[in-house]
Symmetry: none
Subunit: 247 residues, 2 copies
């Protein structure tokens, strides 16, 4: 089929780039969904009438940009949150490198509309007067509150977010929910991590003594085209448990 045209015709667009664009469009349009496996290299090569090296180049570029990820012996998959890398599930709490993980529950505290917040809007790269949604949640590990989290999302991007039932926000991680309902996969995140003494509001919510050391994490989640879509602040107690990160 559609044999990629070659150079002779004065075509300045390289073959690998055409293939790359074609694949990216299939992803962006939703015909290929996160987790889907794309055809193997040799099949793509045959199908498009190009060499395997050219296919490799297109796929590797997309993998570098975060659209795809590859596993030797298994295949090439569409990135997105769910399967992208099991290691990137947001927070994993455990006592020790060799211990099993603690159990997670989410308690939904509220969702409301707010006006733009200067610091938040700048992080989200939107104008200062654009309105936001504010989501408050408590993460319980083994029934004990360990994280208080405050999320901000642009109202413009997530229309009618407040129509969903609160239960939806407790069932699954928020990024999965947003991906499903609004088709925005998470491509990468930025975090700022610091250690701070617990402020008064936090001591109440997390039930810790005033000025206990708290892990404070600010996060920006990005989707395609490096577009930020969520700004989040998390306050974590880390007495016995610690946060595991792999990269």
């Amino acid at each position: 089929m559609g044999a990629m045209t070659n150079k002779k015709s004065g075509d300045p667009v390289p073959i690998y780039l055409k293939l790359q664009t074609k694949l990216m469009l299939e992803i962006e349009s939703g015909r290929l969904e996160p987790g889907d496996r794309i055809p193997p290299e040799n099949r793509l090569a045959d199908h498009h009438g190009v060499s395997i090296g050219t296919v490799k180049k297109a796929i590797l570029n997309l993998a570098n940009e975060g659209y795809l990820y590859r596993v030797q012996g298994k295949g090439t998959f569409v990135a997105g949150t769910t399967l992208r890398r099991e290691s990137l599930r947001y927070y994993r709490f455990l006592k020790d490198f060799n211990n099993p993980e603690a159990n997670l529950n989410i308690e939904f505290l509220g969702l409301k509309k707010t006006k733009g917040i200067e610091h938040v809007n700048r992080c989200l790269k939107i104008r200062h007067n654009q309105a936001l949604y504010e989501i408050k949640r408590l993460f319980l590990f083994n029934k004990k509150p360990l994280i208080y989290s405050l999320s901000y999302l642009p109202q413009k991007l997530f229309v009618k977010l407040d129509d969903f039932s609160p239960k939806q926000f407790e069932r699954v991680p928020i990024y999965l929910f947003l991906e499903e309902k609004y088709g925005l996969p998470t491509i990468y995140n930025q975090e700022l991590i610091s250690s701070v003494p617990a402020a008064h509001e936090i001591t109440q919510l997390l039930k810790v003594p005033e000025r206990s050391p708290i892990l404070f994490i600010e996060m920006i989640a990005f989707t395609y085209k490096k577009r930020p879509y969520e700004y989040r602040q998390s306050y974590c107690i880390t007495g016995n448990n610690k946060i595991l990160r792999e990269y």
Copy 2:
């Protein structure tokens, strides 16, 4: 010259990666300065006794990471610091998502041999009685001590590590040094993050009041075949600055 050894010897490190590392070291160490032109592909291929495709791969990777830039017809050049992206393996300190990064210096505090430590050896997946090296360092950002770090490496894996001059440990990031001297590239890391009150020893080293909130990070670095090779504890002050992580 220095013909890169090939696979037959059970060597798990790909040739292109060795070349890539070698070039990166020349850049990081300052032997190659921003703007310098590196030898053309065919010369590098001859010089190292590898194919031109392999050289291409090494160079393209470094170009993608921002270490080099290429101009068709002219050559390949060392990029200025602006372009460089060390998103992983490295701590980046800044005050805010929108602020520039602080300046880093490393102060080497000491390297000595120690007996095995149960917790450490378990993390490194070596027997309890295997001896270790212990490296103590202080990271200064804008001249102020911000991180105290304690590294453990198996003596068996890093023979004669204590023969190197202390200066070597201050010049380049430790993982680059180990990669060059022992041919162990870092494939991925695990971290445990928590927030703790400063213990007595730490208050002295980092010059903070007793029980200030400290970011405590335990890290295990893995090389090929998921083999752990370094266990590290870092104690970070995060008053004004925060740690940036991208993933």
